[in-house]
């Protein structure tokens, strides 16, 4: 096994695919956290909602309808959440935010049960992405390669927007120091709203692309929440680089840990998290340096 290059390539691709899925979730959460100082534990529920909406739409109009419309629908729910709850709770402190958004997880859990029932849903992989491709000497499912490519494309797009555009500079300035950004005439509240909606849409997209791989169940949002928070803590709050690094570290440690030290796999990532918290409590690449 140790000398089989194909085996290692396969594991690396699995790790990369898991990392990209986690990245789609963590980037929205980390920038919302960094920019708005808002702890939205219900972000995972938006991922679950994305998966359910995608599954329902796929049943009507096929995979691509779900793929394109689920992020829009989840962003719509994000708008409602923002206007009805989050805007009012911006100044209420982290403890109140954690409690309310934690409660929201269970409210959304029950809502998905009411609408879609307790049974797991499944989506077929679209014909275009079905089958396997030969990649670096291994046969790998095309759909999983698609997730990796999608994740990389979104990293590139976000790197461009955050690093090369005026709105990206405004977001970074807001994460660095929202009060000073406001003194320069930037409407930080409106910026928060845009970032929040994009973050929700990306969570919905993550749910839509995860749906064909995993069973769509009401608690899938709760299951993904802890890994997402670990990604953010390891990577550091508020930065794209941190979300990429945290996702890759989580994906690779989880995947290779399960192969190389299966008896330790479940604690490995927590040990790493503890090590990061001891050595660099702000995470590897926090936005605020």
């Amino acid at each position: 096994m140790a000398n089989d290059l194909g085996f290692w390539t396969l594991q690396a691709l699995n790790a990369l695919q898991l990392s990209m899925l986690l990245f789609l979730l963590s980037i929205g959460l980390t920038v919302i956290f960094g920019l708005m100082h808002f702890v939205n534990l219900a972000h995972g529920s938006l991922y679950a909602l994305g998966a359910y909406v995608a599954a329902s739409l796929a049943a009507v109009g096929g995979f691509w309808m779900g793929f394109f419309l689920a992020p829009v629908a989840v962003a719509g729910v994000g708008i409602l959440l923002y206007s009805g709850l989050i805007r009012r709770m911006r100044k209420s402190g982290p403890m109140a935010q954690v409690l309310v958004t934690f409660g929201l997880i269970f409210a959304m859990l029950d809502l998905t049960r009411i609408f879609w029932g307790d049974l797991a849903l499944a989506i077929e992989v679209p014909a275009l992405l079905d089958g396997r491709l030969s990649f670096l000497g291994v046969e790998y499912p095309t759909y999983r390669l698609f997730i990796i490519a999608l994740g990389l494309a979104i990293i590139a797009a976000l790197a461009f927007v955050l690093g090369r555009t005026q709105i990206g500079a405004m977001i970074r300035a807001g994460v660095d120091n929202d009060a000073m950004a406001a003194c320069l005439g930037i409407n930080v509240e409106r910026l928060f709203f845009v970032v929040f909606c994009v973050g929700c849409a990306l969570a919905g997209l993550a749910g839509a692309v995860a749906a064909p791989l995993l069973s769509v169940t009401p608690d899938m949002g709760l299951q993904i929440l802890i890994p997402t928070l670990i990604v953010i803590v390891i990577g550091g709050l508020g930065s794209l680089k941190g979300a990429v690094a945290g996702s890759l570290i989580f994906g690779f440690v989880q995947t290779f840990g399960a192969v190389l030290a299966p008896q330790l796999a479940s604690v490995l990532i927590y040990a790493l998290l503890a090590a990061v918290l001891v050595i660099k409590p702000v995470g590897l690449f926090p936005a605020k340096g």
Partner: protein, 232 residues
């Protein structure tokens, strides 16, 4: 131009300004002097909307000043905070562009070229990160960024704090140039000589209230006021 009338403000439950009244006039430099904790920085933060006005009024050009900082900025007031607050994840160029993009309309007084003429050292550091600059360079950047907002009123909080004497002299000369051009300014400063050599008008603040008002020349001549309120 800017009038504060019986303003009360502070941090949460802690009240710092107890009915502060002052006026900054068009085309003049007003220095706000006072000991540590007197309420000088709190006054500036309250003007900028960073702290809420609990009672009293602030008016700019006769109209009530907006409550939110970004609206205050849009009325034509630019702020250089004591901590400079350069954005660390933005380059020097981006720190400048972020101000210029919103206020640098065609025909505006202050352009990128002009602020780089004023502070040529920034031109050599455009691609550096905001926090890779020395304290003096950060102060230049903070002032340049504020000027790119093409303000009608420039507010500076302790612009000489922690700077080497040679940089203090440079900042002084640049602010003198801005004054000569007729830019209205409010200056909070611990350095008595620096403040009074730039200012036309002076107010002294103690325990959140104005306790002395007059010209810069008058405070320079009033040793009792200097001793009583400023410990000079």
């Amino acid at each position: 131009m800017l009038e504060l009338n019986a303003v009360q403000s502070g941090y949460g439950e802690t009240q710092v300004l107890h009915g502060l009244t002052l006026e900054a006039k068009q085309g003049r430099v007003l220095a706000i002097l006072g000991r540590n904790g007197a309420g000088k920085s709190t006054t500036l933060k309250t003007i900028m909307g960073l702290l809420p006005v609990k009672s009293g009024q602030i008016a700019f050009d006769g109209k009530p000043i907006p409550a939110r900082p970004f609206d205050v900025a849009r009325t034509g007031i630019a702020y250089v905070p004591e901590t400079r607050d350069i954005f660390p994840s933005l380059s020097v160029r981006e720190n400048l562009e972020i101000a210029a993009s919103r206020f640098g309309a065609e025909g505006a007084d202050w352009t990128m070229e002009r602020v780089l003429d004023l502070f040529p050292r920034l031109g050599e550091r455009l691609d550096n990160g905001g926090t890779q600059l020395s304290g003096g360079e950060q102060q230049m950047l903070a002032i340049a960024r504020a000027l790119l907002m093409n303000p009608r009123l420039l507010i500076l909080d302790e612009p000489t704090e922690g700077l080497a004497p040679i940089i203090v002299k440079l900042i002084h000369d640049k602010l003198q140039e801005l004054k000569a051009e007729g830019l209205s300014m409010i200056l909070v400063e611990q350095n008595f000589g620096f403040a009074t050599s730039l200012a036309d008008d002076v107010v002294v603040v103690s325990k959140g209230q104005v306790v002395w008002t007059g010209s810069a020349e008058a405070i320079k001549a009033d040793e009792t006021a200097q001793h009583t309120w400023l410990g000079v």
